[in-house]
């Protein structure tokens, strides 16, 4: 008789692996299937140029849940996180701002631009930390179920209501502003200087097809303060060996607990029989059977490509069809033969041991968005640059470096069509290098290898529909109980024995691992697996 598993996990990204590890730890027989030759999905390290390891897609760890690190003993399996020490903003006029975890030093730096802002900055941080405390229970627990009359759901809602009710009126007002305002408008209420507003507002638009003046983008600012309070302490950081090492550590944990993981096992479709998922069929025709199928790939790919509309209710198909993916970012990775030296702060320094933002003003960001709105990539895009080799020498030969540039905007839907991206790939890469070279004069001579990933490449190579790095925009209407569709925010799907555990579920994208862990918990507590 053919082998069967308790659960087959579709996709070996970090969430699929976390889910597999928890299920295996609970004694379930688990099989993870990954299409590519390496694990990690978008949290992947690859030696793209000899001696240089790129965090090909995702490049910093944001909110990897500390309880997952403890539960799965990830440090024992090779996970080592290095916090970012600084946020550096070089300006075209030769000035620059570096924000450190040394409050006094940061105050002096900001005072060079605005004394008022320098003193407001810690007040803002304090307010954000309070807000983050309010929001935190949302990301560590399944989404609330408004409308449900089940006593357990009501109790959960009550608990949440009590939690929010305990917040002061002043902070509730602040929270409602964050839920409705644009990041830039919200920051306008606090700060006068662009050197703060530009790099801070940008966190509201990462991975979305919106501008810093689009309403609703203020909320994401909170994510930057979440790490301060969740027991990970300064959880924004590099992973030693690149972000793929996170996936490798989770995979090692999953294997340790008994999960089986196969790479180069591309799934053609999910088998459905008698109204339930019964397994998967690989592209080579192999049939693998399981009591449960758990998809960690995005909702669009899961339901519309792997399952098929015919097996799903019409209204659900409509909702998934409306789910916004529309990728807006790309990635340029450079292998360079020397340390990148910024004209505003030459040589090695702490400013390179964190993230570097190329976004001199709010207007710059809006202009970059303008082009994207009309189907072009930004000729002067926002860049989020990191040089992980400065703190993690394992990713480049001694004395040489890797530069990772997250690039926004690069709209999936070019006006010439997404399939025309390959023709524009090098021009896009040039725009990024040209932009950065305005701040790092000898950048071009130093490049040994350049890897350019457009949203099209993210879709074709990494399976991210429309190149969306979060499996769907992290806009408010697609979060919590509406992710990925109203009524289906608890990892369960309308098809029996099919579950979701990817970033397209609550609490969403980023290397958090919470989706995978909460999905596993939901399946295990409900004895669905």
């Amino acid at each position: 008789m053919a082998q069967t598993w308790d659960a087959i996990i579709v996709g070996g990204g970090h969430n699929g692996l976390v889910c597999a590890a928890y299920l295996a730890k609970a004694g379930r027989k688990v099989l993870v299937l990954e299409r590519r030759h390496v694990l990690g999905g978008a949290a992947v390290s690859e030696e793209v140029h000899p001696g240089f390891t790129f965090s090909v897609c995702s490049y910093v760890v944001s909110l990897l849940r500390p309880w997952i690190i403890r539960d799965l003993q990830l440090s024992r399996f090779g996970l080592e996180l290095i916090p970012l020490e600084c946020s550096f903003l070089p300006l075209p006029d030769g000035r620059s701002l570096a924000r450190w975890d040394d409050a006094e030093r940061t105050r002096r730096e900001i005072a060079g631009f605005s004394q008022r802002d320098s003193e407001v900055y810690p007040e803002f941080g304090q307010a954000m930390a309070q807000m983050a405390r309010v929001v935190k229970p949302l990301i560590d627990a399944p989404a609330p179920k408004p409308g449900s009359l089940h006593p357990r759901d009501l109790a959960e809602l009550l608990k949440l209501g009590k939690h929010i009710g305990g917040v002061s009126a002043e902070h509730r007002l602040l929270l409602s502003k964050m839920m409705t305002m644009s990041a830039a408008d919200f920051l306008d209420e606090w700060f006068e200087s662009d050197v703060l507003k530009a790099p801070m507002s940008v966190s509201g638009i990462i991975g979305t097809f919106q501008g810093v003046r689009s309403p609703g983008t203020a909320y994401v600012l909170l994510h930057h303060y979440m790490g301060e309070i969740d027991g990970a302490f300064r959880s924004w950081g590099f992973s030693k060996g690149g972000t793929g090492q996170i996936s490798n550590a989770i995979a090692a944990a999953a294997r340790h607990y008994g999960a089986e993981i196969r790479t180069e096992a591309a799934i053609d479709h999910v088998m459905v029989s008698g109204g339930r998922a019964t397994g998967v069929v690989l592209e080579d025709g192999t049939e693998l059977r399981a009591k449960t199928v758990v998809s960690s790939v995005d909702p669009n790919r899961t339901f519309l490509k792997m399952v098929g509309k015919q097996h799903l209710p019409d209204d659900f198909v409509t909702q998934i069809g409306r789910y916004k993916l529309r990728g807006s970012s790309g990635k340029v990775n450079l292998a360079v033969d020397r340390l990148p030296s910024f004209s505003s702060r030459p040589g090695l320094g702490g400013h390179l041991r964190g993230d570097i933002a190329i976004c001199p003003s709010v207007e710059y960001l809006e202009r970059a968005y303008d082009q994207a709105k009309y189907g072009e990539f930004s000729s002067r895009p926002y860049l989020n640059v990191v040089v992980p080799s400065v703190v993690d020498p394992s990713v480049a030969p001694p004395g040489q470096h890797v530069i990772s540039c997250f690039v926004q905007y690069a709209p999936y839907n070019l006006k010439t069509g997404p399939e025309s991206w390959p023709e524009h790939r090098e021009a896009f890469g040039d725009a990024v290098v040209d932009t950065l070279a305005e701040y790092v004069p000898d950048l071009k001579e130093s490049i040994l290898h350049r890897q350019v990933l457009t949203p099209w490449d993210l879709e074709q190579e990494f399976g991210l529909t429309e190149g969306n790095i979060f499996h769907g925009e992290l806009s408010l209407e697609q979060l919590a109980f509406q992710r990925p569709a109203p009524g289906w925010a608890h990892y369960k799907t309308p098809l029996n024995a099919l579950w979701m555990c990817g970033s397209g579920t609550h609490p969403g994208g980023g290397i958090m691992g919470a989706c995978g862990a909460l999905a596993a918990r939901a399946m295990l507590t409900g004895r669905h697996v």
Binding site: R70, S75, L81, I82, P83, F233, R234, V391, P393
Partner: protein, 396 residues
Amino acid sequence: MPLPSPFHQRTSELCTSLLWKEWAGYYAVCSYGMSHEPEYHAVRQSAGMLDVSPLYKFDVIGPDATEFLAFVSARNVGKLKLGQVGYGCWCDEHGKVLDDGTVTRWGEQAYRVTSADPSYAWFSRHSRGFDVQVKDVSSDVAALALQGPRARQILEDVCDGGDVGDLRFFYGTHSKIAGVRVDVTRTGYTGDLGYELWMPAQEALKVWDAVMEAGKPHAMLPLGLDALDVCRVEAGFILLGVDYFSARRCMTDVQKSTPYELGLGWTVHTKRGPFLGRDALRREKSTGSVWALVGLVVDWDELEGLYNSFGLPPQLSSHAWRTAVPVYDQGSQVGQATSGGWSPILKKNLALASVHAAHAVPGKRLQIEVTVEFQRRKVSATVTETPFFNPDRKRA
């Protein structure tokens, strides 16, 4: 007033934070920058270089050197092979620990001993009747600890001879750096891959400069004591004067500890000829110890809940602490946690504690005192074996 160490000229230039403390009469850097965290991560990801010159160092030389050291140490130092380093402690006649340190066998009749406390008089006192010379070389020998996953590669780049790359865990070799004769031992206090370099004090700066230069492409940082303190808690290493007290300085017996009570039982060899404290240690081995040193992992959810009940997010220092707090088992005090801290790599809140031996059961839940908003509370902590963090590379 403390003295400058042989590296002071360099360390004082780099220590822009001006955060210093006194260590064995010398100025020692707490952290070079305002935060010690980059230095901590350098040790765990690349490499850190620490001035450990303030350690006490003794040369023990003579035909009876082996017998002498075997007599004063709880460890059977006589078994050390040429070039091998042994970690251990020495006790008084009652088997109470006086100090801990390393013994390196550099020659058939030549050893180097390191210790945390001045020990010359004690060694001399017990050397009567042995054909041995004890020389305090503390101020003649400068020392650096080079710790972290890149340490081996940096040494391979900078060392001239001695096959440093092949050096096994707790072995030593002779090499040259920048023309200076340097003794290299694969030892340290971080629980990571690491080495210690021993050199003539007057030529120390040459070595410092060469290693700093070689460390640059490997993202090495100079390391201060604050980061070291976090590393040593993760490694479960005890510290004299913090986690235990030298019997020499104790006012009462209760304040004293035996090697078994400090988790150093593995360094004690009782099945051999006479050595200081042998009879007491043999007795303890058969009847059992009163105390035990354990690791504690504080329950994070409970701690977070406690802070939450005050309307606060958890507030933990990124520094290791060393002010003892009581440890309880269901209301009654069963010991004290003597040092601890947040482990950035494990995402766990750790402590080292001395508890009544009956409670030293891995997995057992005890309670540790936590002060929130000036109020003393208790939070669960699970007894855990140490080291908390023990990467393969340490021994590989």
